[in-house]
Symmetry: C2
Subunit: 247 residues, 2 copies
């Protein structure tokens, strides 16, 4: 049976062997929710970069560019980190360079994996179905907050483990902790997430609507995946799309 | 108000500022449970060392020495990592050099703290009372397992946070997660810990009795504390002992 593990922060990813595995990168508030939203709304590709400088230099080359630090849109960029800003029709078919405090680091730390995909509540079931139908072991890599674990990514990791539990083995304590926490919180995810330090930080920035949006399950049947260091939407074969529609 | 935080593994301790804080080192199975048991049974002091080599060289100098790696007693030492081996009357007044897979690393990583103390279920209330009655912020440092978090240390961290919650602020997600997990598990700590990967590993080594022993709350009113790089029993003033007896 395939194995699934949860890594709570990119600071710990070196303790895991990502080779030959699928890494699901998770940054619920808000990087991976934005990436999912962008792909669902027709953005062609996203270039994740680690630093503001790299992101700015891609902007100078003519790309649209999005940069967030400490929960705020950085000065001099086209887009920030609100999922609503990725719904604009003018973005259809475009490529966007993105850097965020935690999310893009998680992606750049996963490049040795067999495959890197992007998960969020917004595409939860389509990701779960994909993991079940592919052959590799899986690591769910939470972006966390500045090296530490956070509640919202842990809850999503737990939700994903719970959704695939019949098809995977999972023995590591971190994985069991994520699943336990999800099972405590699942009837009131928003209430539970409201306790998190990140949400308290973000609430100060008046983004209740963003948070509410990012916690909705299954509104977008897309999976952003890394291909040659750029995120593009995964193409599903016919059979797979049918399975997902029936889920 | 004082602040309390939980760090789930020594791999993340560099993200915390331990200076001017009390660090409570936790390695429930079994290093800090053994240290608590040893002090309660009259061992005079414990020298925590990081490596088997250092431990062996102290043994050559005439100290009793205890070494554990991967849950087993290492060859050529006097004691292993079972709390029962620290109850022997012949150990009274002795100094023991100790190295363990995870626990001693947590101690050596905390040396910049204002104070380092040892916590376990066995001395839970006396530690909680001490934290309430001293003036500094607190970090609970879980030893985890080979760099990753584990269930039993997380549950104890949650129990300790819960016990002092009226006297401390705690806002970090890791701290909230530990407390939530403890509140789910508290009516059946043993059942919850039985799920952990470490316990599965240890069960293979036939140490059910050790595990059962280490999960007992409040059987020893002692606090091992680091003093000049050596663990000794904290001395309480009269008032404090009374408070603890009434707890």
């Amino acid at each position: 049976m395939k194995k699934i593990e949860v890594c709570f922060t990119p600071s710990l990813i070196d303790l895991y062997n990502v080779e030959k595995k699928v890494v699901v990168v998770v940054d619920i508030l808000r990087a991976t929710s934005c990436m999912t939203t962008a792909m669902a709304n027709g953005v062609k590709s996203i270039i994740p970069v680690a630093t503001i400088e790299e992101c700015f230099s891609l902007r100078k080359k003519g790309f649209l560019a999005a940069a967030e630090r400490d929960g705020k849109m950085a000065d001099g960029f086209d887009l920030g980190n609100s999922p609503f800003s990725y719904m604009d029709k003018s973005l259809k078919g475009k490529t966007i360079a993105v850097t965020t405090t935690n999310g893009t680091l998680a992606i750049t730390k996963s490049k040795k994996a067999a495959q890197v995909i992007v998960g969020s509540f917004l595409n939860q079931s389509v990701v779960a179905n994909y993991l079940i139908n592919q052959p590799n072991d899986v690591i769910i890599l939470c972006a966390g907050w500045k090296g530490k674990m956070n509640i919202e990514d842990t809850l999503f990791a737990g939700a994903l483990v719970d959704a695939v539990k019949d098809e995977f083995t999972f023995e590591e304590d971190a994985t069991l902790i994520a699943q336990s926490l999800y099972n405590v919180a699942k009837d009131d995810i928003a209430g539970f997430v409201a306790k998190s330090s990140h949400v308290k930080r973000l609430n100060k920035l008046n983004i209740h609507k963003d948070i509410e949006f990012c916690l909705q399950p299954d509104i977008y049947p897309v999976i952003p995946m890394l291909k040659d260091d750029v995120l593009v939407a995964m193409e599903f074969d016919y059979e797979y799309v049918i399975k997902n529609d029936n889920a």
